[in-house]
Each structure stands twice: as C-alpha cells, then as structure tokens.
C-alpha cells in the first residue's frame, strides 16, 4: 500500500513546524472553547438541578443520549444551520458533549457536601449564597476538575473528526495524509492530538493541586 514510502519523513516535519503549530492552535481553540462554555453552563445548570432535584433525571437522560450520538452525524446535521467548514459546526456539538460529561460531575460535586456540613454552615450564620461560594463550590472543585479532565481529553480527540466537515484542526492532517497516501502527517497528527490531550490533563491536575489541596492530601 505504501509502495516504499517510509512511515515518517522527518524532513517534512522539519519543513512544516509553523504549519503544525498553527493547526495545533486551531485545534486547541476548536476543542477547548466548547469545554469552557460547557463548564460555564454546567455550573448554573448543576445548581438548578440540586435546588430542583426533579429537573435532574430528565436532563441527565437527555444528555445521556446526546453523549452517545456519533459526532460526525451531529456535525452533519448542524451544517444547514451553521454552514460547512465553520468552527461553529464543530464547536456546538462539542459543547453539548462537554456539558453531557460536566453536568453529572457538577451535580455529584455539589451533592458531595454532606447535609450536616450544610446545616453547620447555616447554623454559623452563612446565608444561602455565601454558603454556596464558601462551602459548596469549593467542595465541588475536585469533582469539577475530574469531569473537566474527561471532557477536555474527549473533546480534543473528537474535534479531529471535524476535518470531515472541513474544520478539524489537526484532523486535517489525517484527511491530507490519507488522500496523498502519505503517513507522516497522519502520525504527526495522532502524536500532536495525544500530546495536546496530555498537556491539558497535566494542567488540570496541577490546577487541582492549587485549587483543592485538601483532596490530594486527604487521599494520601
């Protein structure tokens, strides 16, 4: 199949460093902005779900289904609204996927505060909003970060599929390499996607150390 083409042409990589960096940047934006938006939506939604528990079951069921929808199909269904090869076509579904992961983890996190702790806070004179900011949200941070790790890594790998609808950051390397029967960009793409995921994951682990030192220290 490869007809003598080597697996990696190192000089191609050397010649295209700027190009690869550009694709990586584009990929990061396409994959990670949806995760951030997902987080911004998940926190208020999660709060609503803990205040009105009846809301959670149907919402969770909907996102359960959404999470299982094949990304390519969802990208395609959106094309009539968001256009071919636009960022939105890829970013809107990725936001939904991120939200599908983050909503349950946010709710778990907010529920992780035991009832006695909530009561003790109230008895010491915390109002509901003050308590939310000082007790419930900080206690939910480790859960949020665990959810973010899953959401970010999945989003980064899923974003590549966007190349099939014309906007997939590093995913373009797969389409390009396949059409030219040229494995070097494909391998570069796989490695860069995995590296981007790894870097994000490590940053999130560092963020947890910083924001929730108690979770790590207690686990020890």
């Amino acid at each position: 199949m490869l007809d003598g083409e080597p697996l990696v042409r190192w000089h191609w990589l050397g010649d295209h460093l700027g190009y690869l960096a550009g694709l990586t940047g584009d990929h990061a934006v396409i994959a990670l902005v949806p995760v951030l938006i997902g987080l911004l939506l998940a926190v208020p939604l999660g709060l609503a779900c803990t205040r009105f528990p009846r809301l959670y079951q149907p919402l969770a069921a909907v996102f359960n289904v959404v999470y299982a929808l094949p990304s390519l199909a969802v990208f395609v269904v959106l094309i009539p609204y968001t256009g071919l090869a636009t960022r939105e076509t890829v970013m809107v579904p990725l936001t939904c996927y991120a939200l599908a992961v983050l909503l349950p983890t946010t709710v778990d996190g907010l529920r992780a505060v035991p009832e006695p702790v909530r009561q003790a806070a109230t008895a010491m004179g915390y109002g509901p909003w003050h308590r939310l900011a000082a007790v419930e949200l900080p206690a939910a941070v480790p859960y949020l970060i665990a959810g973010l790790r899953v959401a970010a890594v999945s989003s980064i790998s899923l974003a590549a599929v966007g190349a099939l609808v014309g906007r997939g950051g590093l995913g373009y390397l797969f389409v390009d390499g396949f059409q030219r029967t040229f494995p070097t960009p494909i391998l570069a793409g796989i490695v860069l996607v995995a590296l981007l995921a790894l870097v994000c994951d490590l940053l999130l682990v560092a963020a947890r150390r910083l924001l929730a030192p108690w979770a790590a220290e207690v686990a020890r």
């Binding site: 003790a120 004179g125 109002g127 207690v218």
Partner: protein, 347 residues
C-alpha cells in the same frame, strides 16, 4: 436565658412535631432534653437558632424574640454542635475553628490565634491544626466541632446528640471533657440526647420529653432517678435506675471503720507506704477492691464492697493509701440515707 413560650411546630403536611412548649433554660447551666426519637427534641433545639421557625408561640433569648433578630447575626452568637461534626472538608482544622470569628470580621491572624487557643482547650495536640477533617478520627472531629462552636465565645451552646456517633470509650472521654469545659466556661448549654445515661451525667437539669415535645418531667438528675413523675418516665429511665442513681451520690456518705488487724479469716496487708496489697486467707493472696471517698460515687463503693472477698471494701485517699474500711452492711445502710447530696459530675 432561653425561654420557650408556647413554642409549637406543625409541618406543612399537618403533622405536629411540637405541640406547644413552655420552658425556661437557665443561663450558665446545662439543660438536657432527652426522649425517644421523634419526640421533637431536635426541633425544639433548632427553634433557638431559627433553623426551625415556630408555627406558634415564640422563643426568647435574653428577653428578645429570636424572630426579631437577623438570622445570620443570631446564629453567629450561638454555638451549634451536631452529631456528625459537620466540619468543612476543604478547610484545615484551624480554619474550620476560625470560621465564625472570620464571619464576624476578625482578621485572619487574630482568628487563627483564637482557634489555636480553642484547639488546646478541647485537648487537641497543636499538630492537628494543619490537618484536614478527613484526616482525623471521629472523636477528634467532634472535639474540633466543639472548638468551632466555642470560637466566637457565644454565651449559648446548642448541642444536638454531639457524641452519639463515636464509640463508648471515646464518648465517655468527650463527656468528661465537656463537664470540665462547662465548669470552666459556664455557658448556657442546651443539649439533646436520646441516651438517659448521658442526660443524667451531663445535665444540671434534665427535661424528659414525650411525643410532640410534651414535658413528661423536668428535674435534676437525682430527683429524676429516684422519683420519676409517672410510670412512663420510669420505664424510659430503665430497670437499674436505682443503681444509676447511686452514681450521682458521693461515696463520702459511707461511714468508715478503722483498719483492723484481722477480719475473721481474712488479713489485709499493706505496702510500706500504706497502700493495700492483698487480702490474705490461709496465706493465699486475693485482690483488694478499693474506693476513694473523696472522688468516687456510692455506686463505686457498693461495687467494691460486693467484690471484696472479705466482705469489706477498702477506702483509700488520693494517693491510694488505705484510710479505713466499709462493710457491705455499712454501705447498704448508707444507701438508705435520704439526706445524701447530689453530685452529678459523677465523682
């Protein structure tokens, strides 16, 4: 002082938790609410800091209706300790204790200094300050809970079954500690428990509750144990309330006899400092049950008399030196003495 005036709580579904309570909780003393689960004791407690809003009547704190104070301000002036401690998992022990002072606007340094002081007061070693609650044992967490409630030096302390979730040995230690603290601080303590033993041990006054928060009896522990108001209260106190009542009376009531060279077949041997060594019969040694009249209860004296092989309990002083003996008959005679004074510290 806390005063309940016809305080009632009816739930939205129509069930009545507390029908209408009239009760004065005197300042500087420990008042214990005790009763079976579902008698409304926790509801009553939570009316004081408005965690429960009465549907009838009112609750006065030093003459002011608690409903008239802003909830946050009211609560910051009342310490609250609950069964599961309810410590903040994301804050270090020291910052947990400093919570209310910080809420009251103290600067961090002063609040932490105060917190460190309190950790020492409740008997926690300084190194626990930097730990997180999950790294502590249940008993330690409960001590932190007490320290946190005391941090802003509130005159009133509400305690809702604070020691129920720890094992009996630790519980006894915590009760001891509370008695010591209370002797030192003199707070107005309202304490809820379902354990009558705990109630008579800790309370200056014990309120026995029936369903719907109705008072079955309000008395000091001694009166409660010796003269229950009705059969229901007697049943709640349990079968051995007579014996437990002895735990409230000092052993000093027992008249002591001088040490004799021999008690029928038995001889008491002392070491060179005068501490009892053995009961001897036919040259074979037996253990010597003792009691200390200065700090033990009648119950301990009776126990020693029952266990003594010779039938004579040996009384010792603070250093363990024998100061006399009491025969079983003498101890039993002391039991019948009605003029006995109450000693609810249990010593």
């Amino acid at each position: 002082m806390i005063r309940f005036e016809g305080a009632a709580k009816r739930h939205p579904d129509g069930t009545v938790a507390v029908r209408g309570l009239d009760l004065d909780v005197p300042a500087g003393r420990t008042t214990v609410l005790v009763g079976p689960s579902g008698c409304g004791k926790t509801t009553i407690l939570r009316m004081v800091n408005r965690m429960v809003v009465p549907t009838g009547g009112r609750v006065l704190l030093d003459g002011t209706d608690v409903a008239e104070l802003p909830a946050a301000q009211l609560r910051r002036g009342i310490g609250y300790v609950i069964q599961q401690a309810g410590l903040f998992p994301h804050r270090r022990v020291i910052d947990n204790v400093a919570t209310v002072p910080r809420l009251l606007g103290w600067d961090r340094k002063r609040a932490r200094a105060r917190a460190a002081e309190l950790l020492e007061l409740v008997g926690l070693p300084p190194e626990t300050a930097r730990r997180y609650p999950a790294q502590l044992s249940g008993g330690q967490q409960q001590r932190v809970g007490v320290a946190r409630a005391l941090a802003a030096d509130p005159p009133v302390l509400l305690m809702d079954e604070p020691f129920s979730a720890v094992d009996p040995l630790v519980r006894a230690g915590l009760q001891e500690e509370l008695l010591r603290l209370q002797a030192e601080l003199g707070k107005t303590v309202l304490f809820v428990t379902h354990d009558i033993e705990e109630a008579v041990r800790l309370g200056d006054r014990v309120v026995v509750l029936r369903e719907h928060g109705e008072i079955a009896q309000l008395a000091d522990p001694h009166t409660l144990l010796t003269a229950p108001a009705d059969a229901g209260v007697a049943a709640f106190l349990g079968r051995d309330r007579g014996l437990r009542g002895l735990g409230l009376r000092p052993a000093a009531d027992v008249p002591l006899a001088k040490l004799e060279p021999a008690y029928e077949d038995w001889k008491l041997t002392l070491d060179q400092d005068g501490r009892p060594e053995h009961w001897l019969r036919d040259g074979r040694p037996h253990p010597v049950p003792v009691f200390a009249p200065a700090r033990d209860t009648l119950r301990a004296a009776l126990d020693a008399a029952v266990l003594a092989p010779s039938g004579h309990a040996v009384a010792v002083d603070a250093d363990g030196r024998a100061i006399g003996t009491a025969s079983r008959a003498a101890v039993v005679a002391a039991l019948a003495d009605e003029g006995a004074q109450v000693n609810h510290a249990g010593r």
